[in-house]
Amino acid sequence: MDIVVCIKRVPATDAAIKIAADGKSIDPAGVQFELNAYDEFALEQALRIKDQLGAGSVTVVTIGPKEAQKELRDALARGADKAVLLTTDQWVYDGASTAAALAAWIKTTPCQLVLCGRQAVDSDNNQLPANLAGRLGFACVTEAGKLTLDNGTFTAERDIEGAREVVSARTPAVISCQKGLNEPRYANLKGIMAAKKKPFEESPAQLGAPAVEIVSLALPPARAAGRIVGEGAAAVPALIAALREAKLL
């Protein structure tokens, strides 16, 4: 099976966010970037499926800045066979135009399965996988926490409100991966050396105009200062009184 894994370079989850002077993007100064946490599960799942089948290929693709070479190289070192960097110097935040560009690229490459992280932790859209599947006419399961593949069909499980959904589907498909799907591996020295010889393609992304324009990006209003109602169990009545006054009890 030929598998495409969509990844994204994003600010680290422990990064504090500052708004840039244009009021529409973040100030990257001092911000560490990393592979989007959920994409780690997508890459790992792709590598496991290839191992399970003993055949096929894993291609990692991203639409992002030149610097995303680092995350792609890391994916190659973990075991992906090929990397594709579709470059843009814009922040990739718009799901519709990104999905359209990815769909156009996927149509040019052998692919029966697309794996993505459930969402990128910068734009937090959680919309690209299903949007992409719609454009490709592929089956889709989002936020899969468990995945079993069997001869062109698969079963995926996903958490819904208060329950778990078991979804049966067939390839070609797009699956977005939830935390807990697997335990991602890290690159070892042998993998890092091997990665240097693997195919790495780079070309400008064919991104159309964003379907959604950013008017502004702002820090949320600071919460009004609260108060310590007291210390220890003795403070419970004061807390109860405050909650009753706020009509929460």
Partner: protein, 327 residues
């Protein structure tokens, strides 16, 4: 052609409450755009849910009803909904940002080749241009965006709009669910606990962290949640305790877990890492209980108690239970 569509979520024959919140937002948009609100529901046996929709204030209800749609299928539902949305002259399409909304709306949007924003906390229509506000970076920043393409699709964060109770009795039009080739279909729904309240729909979220010292001490958290009465409170957890394997990932609140905005959030033994605060800072009222008076959680808490969770929480549980029982 300025109509606003609400995709209603029906589970087990019942209309989900966040869909009524989407109706509220749709009515607001339709007033500004000069259009009507059409609700579209998919499933099998939709009469009760459609009756609830018809009396919510919408102008029309379309029920795509039939055995072929007994089980949710993202591709099957999306195709049928997109066709109805086109026929209704959709300028905007709204749905709740629930597990189904996240799975379904982006596909509908792709089929309509429109614009989409997800997890919106506010929507607008000014001069015929639709827009939305949404948290990004897990709430560390807020994006204000506007559509540059039509139709405009938006999924709405639960608990951010009042549920519609507009009255009225809208016309219900029935369409047979198309029998056809479905690519992905739900085979089974397994309850993940007795009658656990979903984290993102709960009125109260009680979360625990490392300060509880041992996984079994989460009983304190569960007891406090239970004291609020059935179906009111849900249990949450910090990333640290989820990564340590104490609690399942579905309970994680924060940037790589769930983002919640309940009326009341109670953080117990949680220091307040950036990661965690991103997931709960929009709660209306935040209560923190922590031994460390300098913990960052107190900077965003409305009410704090400095103290040992093992001493404070049982007393709080008892006090809450007494009030709830006498209601």
């Amino acid at each position: 052609m300025s109509n606003v569509i609400v995709i209603a979520e029906v589970r087990g024959g019942k209309l989900k409450r966040p869909s009524l919140e989407a109706v509220t937002a749709a009515l607001q948009l339709a007033t500004a755009s000069g259009g009507k609100v059409h609700a579209i529901a998919c499933g099998s046996g939709l009469d009760a849910a459609c009756a609830d929709l018809a009396s919510s204030g919408v102008h029309k209800v379309v029920a795509i009803d039939g055995p072929a749609f007994a089980n949710y299928s993202s591709d099957g539902y999306a195709k049928a909904i997109a066709e109805q949305a086109k026929a209704a002259g959709a300028a905007a399409v709204l749905m709740a940002h629930t597990a189904m909304g996240k799975d379904l709306l982006p596909r509908v949007s792709a089929l309509l080749d429109g614009a989409i924003v997800t997890d919106a906390i506010a929507v607008s229509c000014e001069g015929g241009v639709f827009g939305a506000q949404r948290p990004v970076f897990a709430g560390k920043a807020t994006m204000t965006a506007r559509a540059a393409k039509a139709p405009f699709c938006a999924s709405l964060r639960p608990n951010n709009f009042a549920a519609a109770s507009g009255g009225g009795s809208a016309e219900i039009s029935k369409v047979a669910a198309p029998a056809g080739d479905l690519l992905a279909v739900v085979k089974e729904i397994v309850a993940s606990g007795s009658d656990r309240t979903p984290l993102q729909e709960a009125k109260v979220v009680v979360s625990g962290g490392r300060g509880l010292k041992e996984p079994q001490h989460f009983k304190l958290i569960e007891d406090l949640a239970a004291a609020f009465g059935p179906g009111v409170a849900a249990v949450g957890a910090s990333r640290a305790v989820v990564d340590a394997g104490w609690r399942p990932h579905r309970e994680q609140v924060g940037q790589t877990g769930k983002v919640v905005s309940p009326p009341l959030y109670i953080a117990i033994g949680i220091s307040g890492a950036i990661q965690h605060i991103a997931g709960m800072r929009t709660a209306r009222t935040i209560v923190a209980i922590n031994k460390d008076a300098d913990a960052p959680i107190f900077k965003i808490a409305d009410f704090g108690i400095v103290g040992d969770a093992f001493e404070v929480v049982p007393a709080l549980t008892k006090a809450v239970a007494e009030i709830v029982q006498h209601k």
